[in-house]
């Protein structure tokens, strides 16, 4: 395996969890709901995925449990914010805190136990191709799923009737309600999907990225995913670009350090954040386009008046 290939693989592994969690949150926000519990759902996905895989020995079951855990864990948020219209910011934050606490409780006896890695794809002939073989045909299934998700969500949001309805719910829930669209129902669906994605992203951490369970292993990735959605102005392809840019600069700055170039490491460590924000702000500087893409009802509670 060449160095360039190895670097690209490292970048893909680092970007995938951000991408999946951000794509999930993008759908949630497009429906008009701001769920700040991404970090909490992600860490729940990580712990449940790990525990399921460790107990059964099957990483596939682990992935499934991670997805289910994330989705299930988003249910209390959905109930509180959608049915009894609690404040979305506060509820989301408490979901994160709850997730971090609950996950360390669940995972307490699994700290340090050997993990199960999700096997990489192997296609004889193709995977052995030089340079691009491992990259295109030899990664873990969650990587392929993440790319698929980006295009599926783009298609769903902008090419299907249901996607259009979902966006209209996020733009003006009162009008959508008046038209007879089940606003709460759509938002439930979106929140559950966001939870499932966050759970999958967590499972990627504990089954692919570093196949182990350590407490608080998301280490703020949920928050980065949240930020990516905003800076990408709620557009899936920009989320993809943002996640990979963030991953690339993260890995690049580590390489710059290991080469001993003499650039201050504090500056290098802040580069991924700086670069991602700058680039995404630059590509989103068309204000009209950004306004169109910003869900107008984002974060506002919906209480049907009749």
């Amino acid at each position: 395996m060449g160095m360039a290939e190895s670097i690209l693989l490292t970048i893909a592994t680092a970007a995938t969890p951000l991408l999946i969690a951000a794509i999930g949150e993008l759908v949630v926000e497009r429906s008009g709901v701001l769920n700040l519990g991404v970090e909490g759902m992600m860490v729940m996905g990580a712990v449940c995925g790990f525990v399921a895989a460790a107990l059964t020995g099957s990483p596939w079951l682990g992935v499934l449990c991670g997805i289910l855990a994330g989705a299930l864990f988003s249910l209390p948020f959905a109930f509180l914010t959608l049915n009894i219209a609690t404040n979305q910011v506060a509820t989301g934050l408490s979901l994160t805190l709850l997730g971090l606490g609950l996950s360390s409780m669940i995972g307490e006896s699994f700290v340090g136990s050997p993990g199960v890695r999700l096997p990489n794809l192997f296609i004889p002939g193709l995977t052995e191709l030089p340079l691009v073989g491992r990259l295109l045909f030899g990664q873990d299934p969650i990587f392929y799923l993440s790319i698929l998700l980006v295009f599926a969500v783009t298609w769903f949001l902008f090419k299907t009737r249901t996607g259009l309805t979902l966006r209209s719910v996020g733009d003006n829930h009162a009008s959508a309600h008046a038209l007879g669209i089940p606003v709460i129902g759509y938002r439930y669906g979106a929140v559950l999907f966001g939870g499932a994605c966050a759970g999958l992203a967590g499972a990627q951490l504990s089954l692919v990225y570093t196949p182990q369970w350590v407490e608080n292993m998301t280490a703020g990735r949920g928050w980065i995913a949240l930020a990516l959605v905003v800076f990408a102005s709620w557009r899936p392809l920009r989320v993809l670009a943002g996640a990979y840019l963030f991953g690339a600069v993260t890995i690049g700055q580590l390489h710059a350090q290991a080469l001993g170039l003499g650039i201050p490491s504090q500056l290098l460590s802040s580069l991924p954040y700086l670069a991602t924000i700058v680039v995404l702000v630059l590509i989103s500087r068309n204000r009209r386009l950004t306004m169109i893409n910003t869900p107008a009802s984002l974060g506002r509670a919906f209480v049907p008046d009749r």
Binding site: T10, Y209, P211, N216, R221, T250, A258, Q266, S269
Partner: protein, 355 residues
């Protein structure tokens, strides 16, 4: 009226005095920066606390609070312990230093112990371990085991304790192979398994074949074992994360110190002070030497014995600074004062120290 007030005051005094008089049970409280199952730094402190409970049994009551961020929250957490009747409070992170000093001033009757800091007061002691002694042994092992002649070091933050470890590691390595090189990557975090793993992958891609870390998760150990190279554990025994990878680990063993100090609180002989113990006193121990040939193991054990007996001190001249100027003359030892403020590399480190 005056009498009633006096009576009330006396009654109050009596009730508040009572628990103090019946005080055969000492309450020892611990403030943790991470969670007690982090598999590294905080877990090591909590094992110490458990040892206290086991050895001192009914004469002691312990309490702890986990995941206390360094900063204003720390002061609140420490103060709450001081108010709630703790006799001695252990604050177990460098970043708790100023918060501990502030609370110690407000509660002169409570005793405080701060780990890895340097500020003391009449009721505030500091304690630390010479982790760098273990790093010297690791450096020697690395120089023997590495085929590439270069090791990778995943560092957290450029504070003296970490710089000391890097320097000690390279000095140990150079005592075996004078041309040995060290690549350093700063993760700028103590605990982020993914990021530490990325750092390990990057270092391996750049040709190192031994990984050592001064961050707390088992991420690097796991990457090392996937890529089939060797690595050292940090703060706790990480052999479970790399049964065929871990060469040894520096294990923090705070328990004996905690037991000793709490006993002193019990019998009233507790005094402030600042201790900096090492392998000799057993405040750190080395995990079993594994995954290495017998001759390397033998060398490591001999070095460990020499450090324990005081015959070998890692920072002994001749040592040159990174820029080639002389730091320690032949036979000269670095003073604790210089070490505890160390802010430069010695020769052989392939990195520029962040200032």
């Amino acid at each position: 009226m005056k009498k009633i007030v006096m009576g009330l005051a006396m009654a109050l005094a009596a009730t508040t005095a009572l628990p103090a008089m019946a005080q055969d049970k000492v309450k020892a409280c611990f403030v943790y920066v991470g969670s007690k199952t982090d598999g590294g730094w905080t877990q090591a402190h909590d094992l110490g606390r458990q040892q206290v409970e086991k050895e001192l049994g009914d004469t002691v009551e312990t309490a702890f609070v986990e995941n206390v961020p360094e900063g204003p929250d720390a002061e609140r957490a420490i103060e709450r312990f001081a108010r709630s009747g703790c006799d001695v409070v252990f604050t177990t992170s460098f970043g708790f230093m100023d918060a501990t000093v502030a609370v110690a001033q407000k509660f002169p009757d409570v005793k405080f112990e701060h780990a890895t800091g340097y500020k003391t007061a009449d009721n505030l002691a500091a304690y630390n371990a010479r982790f760098y002694e273990g790093r010297y042994i690791q450096g020697q092992i690395a120089a023997k085991m590495s085929k590439a002649g270069v090791a990778g070091y995943i560092a957290s933050f450029p504070i003296p304790e970490v710089v000391m470890g890097i320097n000690s590691f390279i000095l140990g390595a150079q005592s075996v192979n004078p041309d040995f090189k060290l690549k350093v990557v700063w993760a700028n975090t103590w605990f982020d398994a993914g990021k530490e793993a990325d750092a390990a992958k990057v270092l391996i891609d750049q040709g190192v074949d031994i990984i050592t870390q001064h961050t707390d998760s088992t991420g690097p150990m796991q990457v090392a074992s996937e890529r089939g190279i060797k690595a050292f554990g940090q703060a706790s025994d990480m052999i479970k994360a790399g049964p065929e990878t871990q060469l040894t680990a520096i294990i923090d063993t705070w328990g004996n110190y905690y037991v000793k100090r709490i006993k002193e609180v019990q019998d009233g002989s507790w005094k402030t002070g600042s201790i900096w113990d090492g392998l000799m006193e057993g405040i750190l121990t080395m995990a079993p030497y594994t995954n290495m040939p017998d001759d390397v193991k033998k060398m490591a054990e001999e070095t460990e014995a020499k450090i324990k007996s005081g015959e070998l001190k890692p920072f002994t001249g001749p040592v040159k600074k990174q820029d080639g100027s002389e730091w320690l003359k032949q036979g000269e030892n670095a003073t604790d004062q210089v070490l505890s403020g160390l802010n430069f590399y010695v020769m052989g480190v392939d990195d520029k120290l962040p200032q």
